[in-house]
Symmetry: C2
């Protein structure tokens, strides 16, 4: 008995991408899917109602951040993360591993776990596979992630090999420490950097532990996009067909399509929400920096091909005014639009899989977006 | 023909407060009413949909701020302020006078108008009665305010007398410069500080010009509350019964009730939205500073007697967490609640007038709120 179950609906005859359904304790998700990130039990600037209105099926929240603030004990006392933040659809929590490696200072990795300093207070802390399970069990997410080591890019082969082996041992300890497997599904994370042999080894180790889902970790950490695609090309074939596959930390429009083509079912990234708070928008014609002076008297919507509430209601001139004046409502509007844009993109990807034409869709999308132009600005 | 018309429904037999309706080009407002402040064409952190949901009947926007950013020409080009910001209910704009006196540096008052420096860029600017009309005509608000001088408290009698006389001359110039009297109603502003004779003189001057509405200005500028009440006591009797009366810049719960008792129909203030962004909430049991540590594990709503969306859905513990982490959504929740609290209070005030028991209501409200306690914390 496992908390989530993946149902493969069909495979795109043109691209090999997968259309599926993920059944969770808080409802069914259509895949491939993008998951908005709600780090501190809130998707920055958005309300749960808005997230639903724009079509968010599942959100991600960060174990490391909630452990520090407000503390997982408080979230548990509130009745779990869903109740605490008023979100009744599925939630995935990461393990805290990535943040421990990317945000903290003075970390020391031992077999037992990681010693580090809190990025807010400087306080000494320790996180282990058992600790990460304990916190996520308290949060009550539908999908939990195993505690892994996420080495930076590039890393030496020898270091990566010992890291992958430790991550596999930690994955086993996570499975053992997990207290609520019937309510919460625990996914393993395949590491191995750009090394085919290590990715294969990592996948084999984790698949032998029979997790209900697998993530591909350690990508989107600074490597070129063709490296990411190559790693996916040689990694996903080692993952079982009947389990969901989650590419962690990826959210640029081109990478979502490229990931789906390589058999990925789930994605998350702070990109759409982070750039929104800087006044940068994703549109069907490419990147639009709405704070630019040229939009001061532009009364067109952010994206003329978008049917989101923001594009149907507000002008670039108004949004530029708000963003320039640092008005919260401006960041609400850009955030809403960007998230809608990616959620809608994934809906188009699913439709293209249904119609066995995802490679054609990619070509059309890249052409309109401008990815094919020399010097095209990506994210 | 005037753009707005006040209809007196009834007078409270117990208190003398007025229940009325104000007919405007964008709909009918029930009075007495509180107007949320949307300085820069946005009520900070809120959407128009949320403002409607909580029962906002009219909002105020600031002429001075919109003149500087984005510029009234851009708002006009967008089709006016209502369309620019997607608000189809009434809007009142102030004249910019108060901001010129409170925000700017190096101001120099002449008969012609006021020379000052822009509080953002330091640029030299000039605002006159004609300029204030021109800007407000471009914005297209339902109710415009005359350009007045708002002297600080306390001011010498002689200074105040010459200021009142200039404000009356400016009021006449405003009437003359106003280009759209059929679409936009222009209200006069009674000044005179704490001096009964000057308030009477100011009211008589302005009433002789037959404005469609009158404001009482120059209050809530640092004077004690009993001074404000005393000024209202001797000012409102000089205002015509068939025109609306607006007390500018007042929004603490006790002053709203005390103002209504003295015949005031309209109020505005940044108080509820400003304190919300500091994590301070208005509740039926008094002031609640939700960021305080004692609310960390308090899963009750902000106000147990409140039926707003926030109080029905979120806990103090969640809101405290968001506010402490500086999360926008936290400030959305406190802002929504505070505005709802004042709008609901005015609904209760209107009901008490209907039932000829506003003095009783005041007593009950003050008792529960804690205003009657020694050292009660007000705003």
């Amino acid at each position: 008995m496992t908390a989530v179950k993946y149902e493969l609906i069909k495979t795109c005859k043109q691209s090999g991408a997968r259309l599926g359904k993920l059944h969770t304790p808080h409802g069914v998700i259509e895949t491939p899917i993008f998951m908005p990130v709600g780090t501190l039990a809130t998707v920055k600037t958005m309300s749960p109602e808005e997230l639903k209105e724009m079509g968010s099926q599942i959100i991600l929240s960060n174990t490391y951040h909630l452990w520090l603030r407000p503390g997982h004990d408080i979230v548990k006392e509130a009745g779990g993360l869903h109740k605490f933040m008023n979100w009744d659809r599925p939630i995935l929590t990461d393990s805290g591993g990535f943040q421990v490696f990317s945000l903290s200072d003075l970390r020391k990795i031992t077999e037992e776990g990681v010693h580090f300093r809190n990025h807010l207070s400087g306080e000494k802390l320790f996180l282990s596979p058992e600790g990460a399970m304990d916190i996520q069990n308290a949060l009550g997410s539908d999908i939990m992630m195993a505690f892994d080591e996420c080495p930076p890019y590039p890393a030496e082969y020898d270091y990566m090999k010992s890291s992958v082996e430790r991550t596999s041992r930690w994955a086993e300890r996570c499975l053992e420490a997990h207290q609520r497997p019937e309510d919460q599904a625990l996914f393993g994370i395949v590491q191995g950097g750009e090394y085919e042999e290590l990715r294969k080894q990592s996948a084999r180790d984790l698949v032998s532990l029979d997790f209900p889902g697998y993530a591909v970790g350690g990508l989107s950490v600074g490597e070129p996009k063709d490296v990411m695609n190559r790693v996916l090309d040689f990694t996903t074939p080692h993952l079982p067909e009947n389990k969901p596959r989650y590419l962690m930390g990826v959210g640029s429009p081109d990478s979502l399509i490229d990931g789906a083509i390589r058999g990925i079912d789930m994605f998350d990234c702070v990109l759409p929400t982070r750039i929104a708070r800087n006044g940068t928008c994703m549109t069907s014609n490419g990147r639009l920096v709405v704070r630019n002076a040229k939009f001061a008297r532009d009364f067109a919507p952010l994206d003329e091909n978008c049917d989101c509430h923001v594009c149907k209601t507000y002008s670039r001139a108004y949004i530029r005014h708000l963003v320039k004046a640092n008005e919260t409502f401006g960041f609400r509007l850009t955030t809403y639009h960007n998230l809608y844009f990616l959620l809608k993109l994934m809906e188009q990807v699913r439709q293209a899989i249904r119609e066995d034409r995802l490679l054609d869709f990619k070509e059309e999308f890249f052409e309109q977006y401008g990815f094919n132009k020399p010097n095209a600005k990506n994210f």
